[in-house]
Amino acid sequence: MSALAPVERPVRLPRGRGLLAPLAPAALLGVVLLVAWQLVVIVGGVQAYLLPAPSAIARVILSDAPVLLSAARPTATAVVLAVLAGTVLGVLASVIIAMFEGLARVVLALVALAGCAPIVALAPIFNAWFGSTSIASKVAVATLSVTIPVVVGTTRGLLTVSETHREYMQSVSASRLQLLLHVRLPGALPALFDGLRVGATLAVIAVIVSEYFGGTSNALGVLIANTAAMSRFDQTWAAVFAASLLGLALYGLVAVVERLAVPWRSATLG
Protein backbone atom coordinates (compact mmCIF):
# COMPACT_ATOMS: atom_id res chain seq x y z
CA MET A 1 0.00 0.00 0.00
CA SER A 2 2.76 2.41 0.88
CA ALA A 3 4.41 1.43 -2.36
CA LEU A 4 1.46 3.01 -4.12
CA ALA A 5 1.57 6.18 -2.07
CA PRO A 6 3.04 8.94 -4.15
CA VAL A 7 6.51 9.98 -3.11
CA GLU A 8 6.56 13.56 -2.00
CA ARG A 9 9.47 15.50 -0.66
CA PRO A 10 9.35 18.70 1.32
CA VAL A 11 11.06 21.71 -0.16
CA ARG A 12 14.55 21.85 1.25
CA LEU A 13 15.28 25.10 2.95
CA PRO A 14 18.73 26.49 3.48
CA ARG A 15 19.34 27.18 7.15
CA GLY A 16 21.84 29.05 9.26
CA ARG A 17 24.00 30.72 6.66
CA GLY A 18 21.34 33.33 5.90
CA LEU A 19 22.50 35.61 8.68
CA LEU A 20 26.23 35.68 7.96
CA ALA A 21 26.42 35.43 4.18
CA PRO A 22 25.47 39.08 3.46
CA LEU A 23 28.02 40.23 6.05
CA ALA A 24 31.05 39.05 4.07
CA PRO A 25 30.88 41.67 1.28
CA ALA A 26 29.97 44.31 3.88
CA ALA A 27 33.05 43.45 5.94
CA LEU A 28 35.22 43.66 2.82
CA LEU A 29 33.82 47.08 1.96
CA GLY A 30 34.49 48.18 5.53
CA VAL A 31 38.13 47.20 5.27
CA VAL A 32 38.47 49.04 1.96
CA LEU A 33 36.99 52.19 3.47
CA LEU A 34 39.30 52.01 6.51
CA VAL A 35 42.36 51.69 4.25
CA ALA A 36 41.17 54.66 2.17
CA TRP A 37 40.62 56.69 5.34
CA GLN A 38 44.12 55.85 6.58
CA LEU A 39 45.63 56.87 3.22
CA VAL A 40 43.72 60.16 3.09
CA VAL A 41 44.92 61.12 6.56
CA ILE A 42 48.56 60.15 5.95
CA VAL A 43 48.96 61.30 2.35
CA GLY A 44 46.84 64.42 2.86
CA GLY A 45 48.57 65.27 6.13
CA VAL A 46 45.26 65.84 7.92
CA GLN A 47 45.65 67.23 11.43
CA ALA A 48 44.80 64.66 14.13
CA TYR A 49 42.30 66.97 15.86
CA LEU A 50 40.31 67.20 12.63
CA LEU A 51 40.38 63.54 11.70
CA PRO A 52 42.60 60.99 13.42
CA ALA A 53 43.82 58.03 11.36
CA PRO A 54 42.15 54.67 11.98
CA SER A 55 45.47 53.35 13.26
CA ALA A 56 45.58 56.11 15.88
CA ILE A 57 42.00 55.38 16.91
CA ALA A 58 42.78 51.67 17.12
CA ARG A 59 45.72 52.45 19.41
CA VAL A 60 43.44 54.40 21.75
CA ILE A 61 40.84 51.64 21.67
CA LEU A 62 43.47 49.16 22.81
CA SER A 63 45.03 51.36 25.46
CA ASP A 64 41.68 52.69 26.75
CA ALA A 65 39.86 49.37 26.54
CA PRO A 66 39.12 49.21 30.29
CA VAL A 67 37.70 52.75 30.28
CA LEU A 68 35.58 52.05 27.20
CA LEU A 69 34.29 48.81 28.66
CA SER A 70 33.23 50.38 31.92
CA ALA A 71 31.66 53.28 30.00
CA ALA A 72 29.73 50.84 27.83
CA ARG A 73 28.17 49.14 30.84
CA PRO A 74 25.70 51.85 32.02
CA THR A 75 24.91 52.70 28.40
CA ALA A 76 24.23 49.09 27.44
CA THR A 77 22.14 48.60 30.58
CA ALA A 78 19.96 51.57 29.70
CA VAL A 79 19.58 50.40 26.10
CA VAL A 80 18.63 46.84 27.02
CA LEU A 81 16.15 47.98 29.68
CA ALA A 82 14.60 50.36 27.16
CA VAL A 83 14.29 47.68 24.48
CA LEU A 84 12.63 45.28 26.91
CA ALA A 85 10.28 47.91 28.37
CA GLY A 86 9.51 49.36 24.94
CA THR A 87 8.64 45.94 23.53
CA VAL A 88 6.35 45.02 26.42
CA LEU A 89 4.63 48.41 26.42
CA GLY A 90 4.39 48.45 22.64
CA VAL A 91 2.80 45.02 22.39
CA LEU A 92 0.33 45.77 25.20
CA ALA A 93 -0.62 49.08 23.60
CA SER A 94 -1.02 47.37 20.21
CA VAL A 95 -3.36 44.72 21.60
CA ILE A 96 -5.49 47.42 23.21
CA ILE A 97 -5.52 49.56 20.06
CA ALA A 98 -6.36 46.59 17.84
CA MET A 99 -9.32 45.67 20.07
CA PHE A 100 -11.13 48.79 18.86
CA GLU A 101 -11.12 47.99 15.19
CA GLY A 102 -13.02 51.10 14.19
CA LEU A 103 -10.65 53.50 15.94
CA ALA A 104 -7.47 51.51 15.42
CA ARG A 105 -6.58 53.02 12.03
CA VAL A 106 -6.89 56.56 13.38
CA VAL A 107 -4.82 55.82 16.47
CA LEU A 108 -2.25 54.02 14.35
CA ALA A 109 -1.93 57.05 12.07
CA LEU A 110 -1.39 59.28 15.11
CA VAL A 111 1.29 57.00 16.55
CA ALA A 112 3.03 56.80 13.18
CA LEU A 113 2.95 60.60 13.04
CA ALA A 114 4.48 60.78 16.53
CA GLY A 115 7.18 58.45 15.24
CA CYS A 116 8.25 61.13 12.75
CA ALA A 117 9.14 63.47 15.61
CA PRO A 118 12.73 63.23 16.90
CA ILE A 119 11.93 61.65 20.26
CA VAL A 120 15.55 62.06 21.30
CA ALA A 121 15.03 65.83 21.31
CA LEU A 122 13.06 65.28 24.51
CA ALA A 123 16.25 64.21 26.30
CA PRO A 124 16.90 67.48 28.18
CA ILE A 125 13.28 67.52 29.34
CA PHE A 126 13.44 63.93 30.58
CA ASN A 127 16.76 64.72 32.28
CA ALA A 128 15.00 67.51 34.13
CA TRP A 129 12.17 65.21 35.16
CA PHE A 130 14.16 62.17 36.22
CA GLY A 131 17.49 63.77 37.15
CA SER A 132 20.26 64.14 34.59
CA THR A 133 22.69 61.80 36.29
CA SER A 134 20.19 58.97 36.72
CA ILE A 135 19.84 56.10 34.28
CA ALA A 136 16.05 56.49 34.52
CA SER A 137 15.90 59.52 32.22
CA LYS A 138 17.92 57.67 29.54
CA VAL A 139 15.76 54.57 29.81
CA ALA A 140 12.61 56.71 29.57
CA VAL A 141 13.61 58.51 26.35
CA ALA A 142 14.86 55.30 24.76
CA THR A 143 11.77 53.35 25.82
CA LEU A 144 9.60 55.89 24.06
CA SER A 145 11.81 55.58 20.97
CA VAL A 146 11.34 51.80 20.96
CA THR A 147 7.63 51.80 21.80
CA ILE A 148 6.52 53.86 18.82
CA PRO A 149 7.89 51.69 15.98
CA VAL A 150 6.88 48.54 17.89
CA VAL A 151 3.31 49.83 18.20
CA VAL A 152 3.18 50.80 14.53
CA GLY A 153 4.46 47.41 13.38
CA THR A 154 2.55 45.23 15.81
CA THR A 155 -0.78 47.02 15.44
CA ARG A 156 -0.57 46.76 11.65
CA GLY A 157 0.19 43.06 12.05
CA LEU A 158 -2.71 42.54 14.44
CA LEU A 159 -5.13 44.27 12.08
CA THR A 160 -4.02 42.29 9.05
CA VAL A 161 -5.77 38.94 9.30
CA SER A 162 -6.24 36.80 6.24
CA GLU A 163 -9.92 36.41 5.35
CA THR A 164 -9.56 32.61 5.19
CA HIS A 165 -8.06 32.50 8.69
CA ARG A 166 -10.76 34.74 10.08
CA GLU A 167 -13.44 32.64 8.42
CA TYR A 168 -11.93 29.38 9.65
CA MET A 169 -11.79 30.58 13.24
CA GLN A 170 -15.38 31.76 12.88
CA SER A 171 -16.41 28.33 11.59
CA VAL A 172 -15.13 26.64 14.75
CA SER A 173 -16.80 29.34 16.81
CA ALA A 174 -13.55 30.61 18.28
CA SER A 175 -13.76 33.43 20.82
CA ARG A 176 -12.16 36.83 20.28
CA LEU A 177 -9.44 35.84 22.73
CA GLN A 178 -8.74 32.62 20.81
CA LEU A 179 -8.57 34.57 17.57
CA LEU A 180 -6.07 36.91 19.22
CA LEU A 181 -3.91 34.13 20.68
CA HIS A 182 -3.95 31.70 17.76
CA VAL A 183 -4.15 34.01 14.75
CA ARG A 184 -3.62 37.69 15.38
CA LEU A 185 -0.62 37.61 17.72
CA PRO A 186 1.44 34.96 15.93
CA GLY A 187 0.53 36.56 12.62
CA ALA A 188 1.76 39.92 13.92
CA LEU A 189 5.16 38.65 15.08
CA PRO A 190 7.00 39.38 11.80
CA ALA A 191 5.67 42.97 11.80
CA LEU A 192 6.56 43.30 15.50
CA PHE A 193 10.17 42.42 14.73
CA ASP A 194 10.26 44.86 11.82
CA GLY A 195 9.31 47.54 14.32
CA LEU A 196 11.68 46.25 16.96
CA ARG A 197 14.67 46.37 14.61
CA VAL A 198 14.00 50.06 13.96
CA GLY A 199 13.34 50.60 17.66
CA ALA A 200 16.58 48.94 18.78
CA THR A 201 18.61 51.27 16.57
CA LEU A 202 16.70 54.29 17.85
CA ALA A 203 17.24 53.14 21.46
CA VAL A 204 21.03 53.28 21.11
CA ILE A 205 20.83 56.75 19.59
CA ALA A 206 18.42 57.91 22.28
CA VAL A 207 20.58 56.74 25.20
CA ILE A 208 23.86 58.10 23.80
CA VAL A 209 22.38 61.48 22.89
CA SER A 210 20.68 61.92 26.26
CA GLU A 211 23.98 61.10 27.91
CA TYR A 212 25.47 64.10 26.07
CA PHE A 213 23.30 66.20 28.35
CA GLY A 214 24.68 64.52 31.42
CA GLY A 215 24.58 60.96 32.69
CA THR A 216 26.07 58.54 35.15
CA SER A 217 29.62 59.84 35.44
CA ASN A 218 31.26 57.41 33.01
CA ALA A 219 28.64 56.45 30.40
CA LEU A 220 29.64 56.29 26.71
CA GLY A 221 27.69 59.39 25.74
CA VAL A 222 29.27 61.34 28.58
CA LEU A 223 32.70 60.13 27.48
CA ILE A 224 32.04 61.24 23.92
CA ALA A 225 30.84 64.67 25.02
CA ASN A 226 33.68 65.23 27.52
CA THR A 227 36.56 64.08 25.30
CA ALA A 228 35.21 66.16 22.42
CA ALA A 229 35.01 69.19 24.71
CA MET A 230 38.68 68.64 25.58
CA SER A 231 39.54 68.17 21.87
CA ARG A 232 40.75 64.60 22.57
CA PHE A 233 39.20 63.47 19.32
CA ASP A 234 41.06 60.19 19.12
CA GLN A 235 39.32 59.23 22.37
CA THR A 236 36.02 60.55 21.06
CA TRP A 237 36.33 58.39 17.98
CA ALA A 238 37.21 55.37 20.10
CA ALA A 239 34.06 55.92 22.17
CA VAL A 240 31.96 56.37 19.01
CA PHE A 241 33.40 53.08 17.79
CA ALA A 242 32.37 51.38 21.04
CA ALA A 243 28.86 52.84 20.71
CA SER A 244 28.64 51.48 17.16
CA LEU A 245 29.65 48.04 18.35
CA LEU A 246 26.94 48.25 20.98
CA GLY A 247 24.35 49.06 18.32
CA LEU A 248 25.58 46.25 16.11
CA ALA A 249 25.48 43.73 18.96
CA LEU A 250 21.93 44.74 19.81
CA TYR A 251 20.86 44.42 16.19
CA GLY A 252 22.36 40.94 16.07
CA LEU A 253 20.61 39.99 19.30
CA VAL A 254 17.24 41.08 17.92
CA ALA A 255 17.90 39.08 14.75
CA VAL A 256 18.71 35.96 16.79
CA VAL A 257 15.59 36.32 18.94
CA GLU A 258 13.55 36.81 15.76
CA ARG A 259 14.90 33.57 14.32
CA LEU A 260 13.80 31.73 17.44
CA ALA A 261 10.42 33.43 17.75
CA VAL A 262 9.44 33.45 14.08
CA PRO A 263 10.91 30.24 12.67
CA TRP A 264 8.40 30.11 9.80
CA ARG A 265 9.68 33.42 8.47
CA SER A 266 13.22 32.20 8.03
CA ALA A 267 11.71 29.08 6.43
CA THR A 268 10.34 31.20 3.60
CA LEU A 269 13.12 33.74 3.20
CA GLY A 270 15.65 30.94 3.10
Binding site: T164, H165, Y168, S173, A174, Q178, P186, G187, W264, T268
Partner: protein, 271 residues
Protein backbone atom coordinates in the same frame (compact mmCIF):
# COMPACT_ATOMS: atom_id res chain seq x y z
CA UNK B 1 -41.85 19.46 2.44
CA UNK B 2 -41.08 15.95 1.23
CA UNK B 3 -38.43 15.72 -1.43
CA UNK B 4 -37.68 13.17 -4.07
CA UNK B 5 -34.30 12.06 -2.79
CA UNK B 6 -33.41 8.40 -2.75
CA UNK B 7 -32.22 8.58 0.81
CA UNK B 8 -33.77 6.29 3.35
CA UNK B 9 -33.02 8.67 6.21
CA UNK B 10 -36.02 10.09 7.93
CA UNK B 11 -34.86 13.29 9.60
CA UNK B 12 -33.71 16.44 7.88
CA UNK B 13 -30.18 17.57 8.67
CA UNK B 14 -30.19 20.80 6.70
CA UNK B 15 -33.32 22.71 5.81
CA UNK B 16 -33.09 25.74 3.52
CA UNK B 17 -36.25 27.73 2.75
CA UNK B 18 -36.43 30.74 0.45
CA UNK B 19 -32.73 31.53 0.70
CA UNK B 20 -31.62 34.61 -1.21
CA UNK B 21 -28.36 36.45 -0.99
CA UNK B 22 -27.57 39.76 -2.62
CA UNK B 23 -24.11 41.27 -2.29
CA UNK B 24 -23.93 45.03 -2.51
CA UNK B 25 -20.76 46.06 -4.27
CA UNK B 26 -19.44 49.37 -5.54
CA UNK B 27 -20.44 48.30 -9.05
CA UNK B 28 -23.99 47.43 -8.09
CA UNK B 29 -25.86 44.57 -6.50
CA UNK B 30 -24.94 40.95 -7.23
CA UNK B 31 -27.66 38.38 -6.72
CA UNK B 32 -25.60 35.35 -5.72
CA UNK B 33 -28.53 33.18 -4.56
CA UNK B 34 -32.16 33.50 -5.53
CA UNK B 35 -34.94 31.82 -3.57
CA UNK B 36 -33.34 28.48 -2.85
CA UNK B 37 -35.26 25.68 -1.15
CA UNK B 38 -33.32 22.58 -0.26
CA UNK B 39 -33.72 19.80 2.26
CA UNK B 40 -30.78 17.57 2.94
CA UNK B 41 -31.55 14.40 4.90
CA UNK B 42 -29.51 13.29 7.87
CA UNK B 43 -26.49 11.32 6.68
CA UNK B 44 -26.73 12.38 3.03
CA UNK B 45 -23.75 13.15 0.83
CA UNK B 46 -24.83 16.01 -1.40
CA UNK B 47 -22.64 17.53 -4.10
CA UNK B 48 -23.17 21.02 -5.46
CA UNK B 49 -22.24 21.29 -9.11
CA UNK B 50 -22.45 24.28 -11.40
CA UNK B 51 -20.55 26.83 -13.45
CA UNK B 52 -18.14 29.23 -11.80
CA UNK B 53 -19.88 32.08 -10.03
CA UNK B 54 -23.26 30.34 -9.67
CA UNK B 55 -23.16 30.68 -5.89
CA UNK B 56 -21.94 27.29 -4.66
CA UNK B 57 -19.46 28.73 -2.16
CA UNK B 58 -22.01 31.29 -1.04
CA UNK B 59 -24.61 28.59 -0.43
CA UNK B 60 -22.07 26.58 1.57
CA UNK B 61 -21.27 29.66 3.67
CA UNK B 62 -24.95 30.31 4.25
CA UNK B 63 -25.37 26.76 5.57
CA UNK B 64 -22.29 27.23 7.77
CA UNK B 65 -23.52 30.56 9.14
CA UNK B 66 -20.56 32.47 7.73
CA UNK B 67 -22.77 34.50 5.38
CA UNK B 68 -26.13 35.84 6.51
CA UNK B 69 -28.77 35.38 3.80
CA UNK B 70 -30.69 38.43 2.65
CA UNK B 71 -33.89 36.40 2.93
CA UNK B 72 -34.93 32.92 3.99
CA UNK B 73 -34.22 30.55 6.84
CA UNK B 74 -31.57 27.92 7.52
CA UNK B 75 -32.08 25.11 10.00
CA UNK B 76 -29.44 22.58 10.91
CA UNK B 77 -30.46 19.55 12.96
CA UNK B 78 -33.55 21.38 14.09
CA UNK B 79 -31.78 24.50 15.32
CA UNK B 80 -30.63 27.69 13.64
CA UNK B 81 -27.37 27.67 11.72
CA UNK B 82 -25.97 30.14 14.25
CA UNK B 83 -26.69 27.74 17.08
CA UNK B 84 -25.18 24.85 15.13
CA UNK B 85 -22.01 26.85 14.60
CA UNK B 86 -21.90 27.92 18.24
CA UNK B 87 -22.13 24.29 19.35
CA UNK B 88 -19.41 23.35 16.84
CA UNK B 89 -21.39 21.03 14.60
CA UNK B 90 -19.49 22.04 11.46
CA UNK B 91 -16.25 20.89 9.96
CA UNK B 92 -15.26 23.12 7.08
CA UNK B 93 -12.66 22.97 4.36
CA UNK B 94 -12.54 25.98 2.08
CA UNK B 95 -11.44 26.51 -1.47
CA UNK B 96 -8.10 27.85 -0.15
CA UNK B 97 -6.37 25.64 2.43
CA UNK B 98 -5.97 28.56 4.86
CA UNK B 99 -3.39 26.86 7.08
CA UNK B 100 -1.43 28.86 9.59
CA UNK B 101 2.24 29.33 8.88
CA UNK B 102 3.09 29.72 12.55
CA UNK B 103 1.92 26.22 13.31
CA UNK B 104 3.38 22.95 12.19
CA UNK B 105 1.19 20.66 10.13
CA UNK B 106 0.25 18.67 13.23
CA UNK B 107 -0.56 21.77 15.26
CA UNK B 108 -2.73 23.03 12.42
CA UNK B 109 -4.82 19.89 12.64
CA UNK B 110 -4.93 20.26 16.42
CA UNK B 111 -6.25 23.81 16.24
CA UNK B 112 -10.02 23.07 16.20
CA UNK B 113 -9.54 20.67 19.12
CA UNK B 114 -7.57 23.28 21.02
CA UNK B 115 -10.32 25.84 20.42
CA UNK B 116 -12.77 23.26 21.76
CA UNK B 117 -10.68 22.76 24.89
CA UNK B 118 -9.55 19.19 24.22
CA UNK B 119 -6.53 18.19 26.31
CA UNK B 120 -3.02 18.13 24.89
CA UNK B 121 -2.48 14.38 24.74
CA UNK B 122 -5.83 13.59 23.14
CA UNK B 123 -5.40 16.48 20.72
CA UNK B 124 -2.13 15.14 19.53
CA UNK B 125 -3.41 11.60 19.18
CA UNK B 126 -6.44 12.68 17.16
CA UNK B 127 -4.31 14.91 14.94
CA UNK B 128 -1.94 12.05 14.25
CA UNK B 129 -4.85 9.79 13.34
CA UNK B 130 -6.16 12.39 10.89
CA UNK B 131 -2.72 12.87 9.36
CA UNK B 132 -2.44 9.13 8.93
CA UNK B 133 -5.72 9.23 7.07
CA UNK B 134 -4.53 11.84 4.58
CA UNK B 135 -1.14 10.11 4.37
CA UNK B 136 0.90 13.00 5.73
CA UNK B 137 2.26 11.42 8.89
CA UNK B 138 5.84 12.01 7.85
CA UNK B 139 5.16 15.72 7.34
CA UNK B 140 3.63 16.30 10.77
CA UNK B 141 6.46 18.57 11.90
CA UNK B 142 6.79 20.54 8.68
CA UNK B 143 5.57 24.06 8.09
CA UNK B 144 2.59 24.42 5.72
CA UNK B 145 4.67 26.44 3.26
CA UNK B 146 7.03 23.53 2.90
CA UNK B 147 4.21 21.45 1.41
CA UNK B 148 2.75 21.48 -2.08
CA UNK B 149 -0.70 22.97 -2.65
CA UNK B 150 -2.34 19.54 -2.80
CA UNK B 151 -0.65 18.45 0.40
CA UNK B 152 -1.82 21.63 2.13
CA UNK B 153 -5.35 20.91 1.00
CA UNK B 154 -5.10 17.44 2.56
CA UNK B 155 -4.01 19.02 5.85
CA UNK B 156 -7.07 21.27 5.64
CA UNK B 157 -9.25 18.19 5.18
CA UNK B 158 -7.62 16.52 8.19
CA UNK B 159 -8.31 19.70 10.17
CA UNK B 160 -11.97 19.68 9.12
CA UNK B 161 -12.36 16.05 10.16
CA UNK B 162 -10.54 16.39 13.48
CA UNK B 163 -13.61 17.60 15.36
CA UNK B 164 -15.68 14.68 14.09
CA UNK B 165 -18.35 17.15 12.97
CA UNK B 166 -22.01 16.33 12.41
CA UNK B 167 -22.02 18.41 9.25
CA UNK B 168 -19.08 18.50 6.89
CA UNK B 169 -18.97 21.45 4.49
CA UNK B 170 -16.31 21.15 1.81
CA UNK B 171 -15.56 23.61 -0.97
CA UNK B 172 -13.66 21.94 -3.80
CA UNK B 173 -11.33 20.28 -1.29
CA UNK B 174 -9.82 17.90 -3.81
CA UNK B 175 -9.44 20.38 -6.67
CA UNK B 176 -5.71 20.83 -6.25
CA UNK B 177 -4.86 17.13 -5.95
CA UNK B 178 -3.34 14.79 -8.48
CA UNK B 179 -5.57 12.00 -9.77
CA UNK B 180 -4.08 9.34 -7.50
CA UNK B 181 -4.44 11.29 -4.27
CA UNK B 182 -7.79 12.53 -5.40
CA UNK B 183 -9.22 9.04 -5.80
CA UNK B 184 -7.59 7.89 -2.59
CA UNK B 185 -9.21 10.72 -0.67
CA UNK B 186 -12.56 10.13 -2.37
CA UNK B 187 -12.49 6.57 -1.05
CA UNK B 188 -11.37 7.75 2.41
CA UNK B 189 -14.07 10.41 2.48
CA UNK B 190 -16.71 7.80 1.69
CA UNK B 191 -15.32 5.49 4.34
CA UNK B 192 -15.37 8.22 7.02
CA UNK B 193 -18.79 9.38 5.94
CA UNK B 194 -20.23 5.86 6.18
CA UNK B 195 -18.50 5.16 9.49
CA UNK B 196 -19.62 8.40 11.16
CA UNK B 197 -23.02 9.12 9.64
CA UNK B 198 -21.92 12.69 9.00
CA UNK B 199 -23.98 14.81 6.62
CA UNK B 200 -21.74 16.12 3.84
CA UNK B 201 -22.25 19.06 1.50
CA UNK B 202 -19.52 18.98 -1.09
CA UNK B 203 -18.76 21.52 -3.81
CA UNK B 204 -16.96 20.21 -6.87
CA UNK B 205 -16.39 20.93 -10.55
CA UNK B 206 -15.88 17.29 -11.40
CA UNK B 207 -18.84 15.30 -12.65
CA UNK B 208 -17.28 11.85 -12.01
CA UNK B 209 -16.32 12.95 -8.51
CA UNK B 210 -19.84 14.16 -7.75
CA UNK B 211 -21.36 10.92 -9.03
CA UNK B 212 -18.87 8.68 -7.26
CA UNK B 213 -19.34 10.31 -3.88
CA UNK B 214 -22.90 11.49 -3.65
CA UNK B 215 -26.29 10.26 -2.67
CA UNK B 216 -27.56 13.27 -4.56
CA UNK B 217 -26.12 15.79 -7.03
CA UNK B 218 -27.55 19.30 -6.97
CA UNK B 219 -26.96 21.24 -10.18
CA UNK B 220 -27.01 25.02 -9.83
CA UNK B 221 -27.50 27.64 -12.52
CA UNK B 222 -25.88 31.07 -12.56
CA UNK B 223 -27.09 34.66 -12.46
CA UNK B 224 -29.01 34.47 -10.31
CA UNK B 225 -27.92 31.35 -8.45
CA UNK B 226 -30.72 28.83 -8.45
CA UNK B 227 -31.13 25.11 -8.13
CA UNK B 228 -31.57 23.80 -11.67
CA UNK B 229 -32.01 20.12 -10.91
CA UNK B 230 -31.55 17.53 -8.22
CA UNK B 231 -30.31 14.14 -9.31
CA UNK B 232 -30.38 11.21 -6.91
CA UNK B 233 -27.52 8.78 -7.47
CA UNK B 234 -28.80 5.27 -6.85
CA UNK B 235 -25.51 3.40 -7.00
CA UNK B 236 -25.08 1.11 -4.00
CA UNK B 237 -22.39 1.68 -1.35
CA UNK B 238 -19.68 0.74 -0.70
CA UNK B 239 -18.50 2.23 -3.96
CA UNK B 240 -15.10 1.11 -5.14
CA UNK B 241 -12.88 1.69 -8.12
CA UNK B 242 -14.85 -1.03 -9.89
CA UNK B 243 -17.98 1.08 -9.44
CA UNK B 244 -16.50 3.65 -11.80
CA UNK B 245 -16.41 1.05 -14.56
CA UNK B 246 -20.04 -0.05 -14.32
CA UNK B 247 -22.70 0.91 -16.87
CA UNK B 248 -24.83 2.34 -14.07
CA UNK B 249 -22.05 4.71 -13.04
CA UNK B 250 -21.49 5.88 -16.57
CA UNK B 251 -25.19 6.32 -17.14
CA UNK B 252 -25.43 8.47 -14.01
CA UNK B 253 -22.44 10.49 -15.15
CA UNK B 254 -24.07 11.05 -18.54
CA UNK B 255 -27.28 12.12 -16.89
CA UNK B 256 -25.56 14.70 -14.69
CA UNK B 257 -23.56 15.98 -17.64
CA UNK B 258 -26.72 16.55 -19.68
CA UNK B 259 -28.31 18.52 -16.84
CA UNK B 260 -25.19 20.60 -16.40
CA UNK B 261 -25.06 21.41 -20.10
CA UNK B 262 -28.70 22.39 -20.03
CA UNK B 263 -27.71 24.96 -17.44
CA UNK B 264 -24.75 26.24 -19.39
CA UNK B 265 -26.39 26.66 -22.77
CA UNK B 266 -29.01 29.31 -22.04
CA UNK B 267 -26.44 31.51 -20.35
CA UNK B 268 -23.91 31.20 -23.17
CA UNK B 269 -26.68 31.76 -25.71
CA UNK B 270 -27.58 34.93 -23.89
CA UNK B 271 -24.11 36.39 -24.23
Amino acid sequence: MSTSTASTSTSTAIHLAGISKTFSTSSGDVVALDDIDLDIPQGAFVSLLGPSGCGKSTLLRVIGDLVTPTAGTVQVAGTSAAEARRTRQYGMAFQAPGLMDWRTVRRNVELPLQVQGVGRAERRQRADEMLELVKLTQFADHRPRQLSGGMQQRVAIARALAMQPRVLLMDEPLGALDEMNREHLQRELLRIWRATGTTVVFVTHSIPEAVFLSTEVVVMSPRPGRIASRIPVDLPYPRTDETRLTDEFQAAERHVRERLHAVLEPSTAGL
